[in-house]
Symmetry: none
Subunit: 237 residues, 4 copies
Amino acid sequence: MVSRVQKQKVVTPEITRGGWVASGVAAERRATSDTSQTIKAKRTRQNLLDAARLTFAEYGYTQATVEQIVATAGVARGSFYTYFESKLDIFRHLVALIDKTIEREVVSFERRHSGNPIDNLLISNRNYLAVVRANADLYRLVEEVAAQDSSVNEARIRSRREHISRVASSIRRWQSHGLADSTIDATTTATALVSMLSGVAQWLQIGDVTISDHDAAESLTKIWISACGLQSGAVLP
Amino acid sequence: MVSRVQKQKVVTPEITRGGWVASGVAAERRATSDTSQTIKAKRTRQNLLDAARLTFAEYGYTQATVEQIVATAGVARGSFYTYFESKLDIFRHLVALIDKTIEREVVSFERRHSGNPIDNLLISNRNYLAVVRANADLYRLVEEVAAQDSSVNEARIRSRREHISRVASSIRRWQSHGLADSTIDATTTATALVSMLSGVAQWLQIGDVTISDHDAAESLTKIWISACGLQSGAVLP
Amino acid sequence: MVSRVQKQKVVTPEITRGGWVASGVAAERRATSDTSQTIKAKRTRQNLLDAARLTFAEYGYTQATVEQIVATAGVARGSFYTYFESKLDIFRHLVALIDKTIEREVVSFERRHSGNPIDNLLISNRNYLAVVRANADLYRLVEEVAAQDSSVNEARIRSRREHISRVASSIRRWQSHGLADSTIDATTTATALVSMLSGVAQWLQIGDVTISDHDAAESLTKIWISACGLQSGAVLP
Amino acid sequence: MVSRVQKQKVVTPEITRGGWVASGVAAERRATSDTSQTIKAKRTRQNLLDAARLTFAEYGYTQATVEQIVATAGVARGSFYTYFESKLDIFRHLVALIDKTIEREVVSFERRHSGNPIDNLLISNRNYLAVVRANADLYRLVEEVAAQDSSVNEARIRSRREHISRVASSIRRWQSHGLADSTIDATTTATALVSMLSGVAQWLQIGDVTISDHDAAESLTKIWISACGLQSGAVLP
DNA sequence: CATGAATGAGTGTTCATTCAT
DNA sequence: GATGAATGAACACTCATTCAT
């Protein structure tokens, strides 16, 4: 599958590193702008990111226009392309920021090989819910853009796969230490639990639900524990 | 008096019994087409639905064009509007067909008040996975379109809410018969389990996973059982 | 929330200070273009106005296409919408220019409270015929567009009503100074005379008539004088 | 200038009697339907004419659709073309009916060579106002269609020219009998008076005016008399 | 570096007219 | 003669992207 979102006006595409490369003067500037960023430039770039986020959140990816973004950012239309290749590009940058947050807030706890598994689980679930809720506006859009662009779609799938994989590892670790039910299939269970976690996280935003993050994390973790047959007092060495 | 010069493309939505009503010339034809449909007309309509499904599946909603749909269906461009108001309209018709299937294949088992709850659960979960898998192409698109159209978005939310509500009812029924853990919150648990179910269902399609529907249904049902503290031998009167 | 999928071509008119306000991307550009206009921009805009006039004159409003206009102007299709909301919008701009001319060339003489009424009348009638003849191509189209768009229709009616009203005032002023027949009804007579004036003005263009503007103005003024019973030597103080 | 309204789908035009000729099965039926009209056919045809009139009056010519007409008439879409060549064709038939009425109600009085000229004038003016008022809905549309179709435009011009010509003849006849001012130019005066008459007639409809037909006819005739210098007691032999 | 005018391919939708049934 | 499904040319309008100034 090839990205179809950026089809407009791409006249002479040149392949590099498996993707499209921009041409034109703004592109040349972008190439250098990574290294030499004045303070003002950084601020403009950030303004655009903030504006894009607001605009995407309000109108969705497809309906949002570059014009709206630059108007919100208070810069000229052409300046957008000084900092970002395309509408899709700025969206990917936005999503990348969330991924970093997840890595920082959640993954470290999932991976923690020591301490009380249940405590770690509760913390990571709680943080996950918090991060997703804080970025709910963008999360929804990932689904939208994934349907339109293969690179975003693949990134989304990869991210989910890694999440499942990390959770499956944890389960196997627990099993190997006799802390979890050894009869369950780690991958299948991880798939179910990750689906549950992210599904609930998103539903909390859009469903207008009365469940608090705190209660949700408690309940999810309880289900998680019973699904894995985790021993409550267990501690990893 | 209202300006009529700019009538082209101006959609004047009028609400009736909770839906949209068509306006314009083709609309007048459509209005009567429900009652008096030639065999040929029915065939053309079905061709368009099939073609739309294929096209949407391949290109996504946004990228798919009416032109592609009619080309696939082998009819003239204008014929599309003899049967459907718009691209969005045909999409909604497509989705409505799935909803009917779900109602038929799944809901009846969820609602079943008698028999072995676990057996009913396994059947309904299995059917749900099958239906979603069979319609995975469209399911993905619902997310995409929901981001662009409020009516689809609301339908999606309503559908999810009802699903959760049905499951919560089941849990409460089990609890009242002493078959399930009475300490869990029915709604929260139902939210988690429904999220898990639909999350897994979709992931099975897009994740290129090796888990079979059968194994997935088994595992999900097991988690479901343990989450609710369902007694394995239990039978509703 | 409102459906956003069908946004293409959906015109969402919002009333402000008695006019239409633009929406959409090009509209945002247009909004500011009044204040900050490059020389190049001004030229392009004028090119479009000129081209539109030629195209409308040759093909009529309905039959003229934006494509023809931009081809004549030598600009890209999209540029049209940088400067004008729609085909109707550019038409209204064109008509507004004539209205200004009429105001400048004719109304001032009608309103003149001093001097020889007959001289003022002759001048204003002569100028009116000249202005209408010079803009005959557009005047015809106003009738066409008025049948299709209420705002143009209302503007046309308002304009005529004001014209009649101005003439009726003149007649009353003459009557109050004893210069005109006091038995005639000012409004009815004004209606007749204005109808005559504008009717003749248009007929001179389309009727392929041999009457010169000069003779026409003389004759019309003579009829006007006799209809009002104006004293030939009369002078307003 | 060539008619541009009927441009759609005219594939193989054949010229006859200076116009376009229809092709296709409906056309063949039309060819014979003039001679062999069953009662039912006549009724259907009349229904279509009535429906077209209502539809045109409400939506204007351009905005009215054949679909609306047939829906109002309660016949099938295809049946329209059994009776009329095109949308334009039915419009011309409608206009022709008015022309006949004018001929019957007005022209005979204008042409009357005997009796009191002033009485004849008053009657013909009164009738003219009445006829135009009764057909005001269509009269407006003639202007609209004339801008789009040369045949209607030419018919309109011819009609006006004949009107002026008839009035000019009357004036000359009066002059030759010493009943009217011999110094005025008959054609120029006729042009002015006819413009006044038809201008007022239309304005009475659209201007939301309080002047009654009766008063209008009186005033117009008075102006007419003074413009021609008609002797009040004069009688043609 | 910023600007904003210019671009033009692309899209959904309309509707007069035809013609198989 | 009636029907109404099918047709397809035509059109207004959008907006991501480019590039001269």
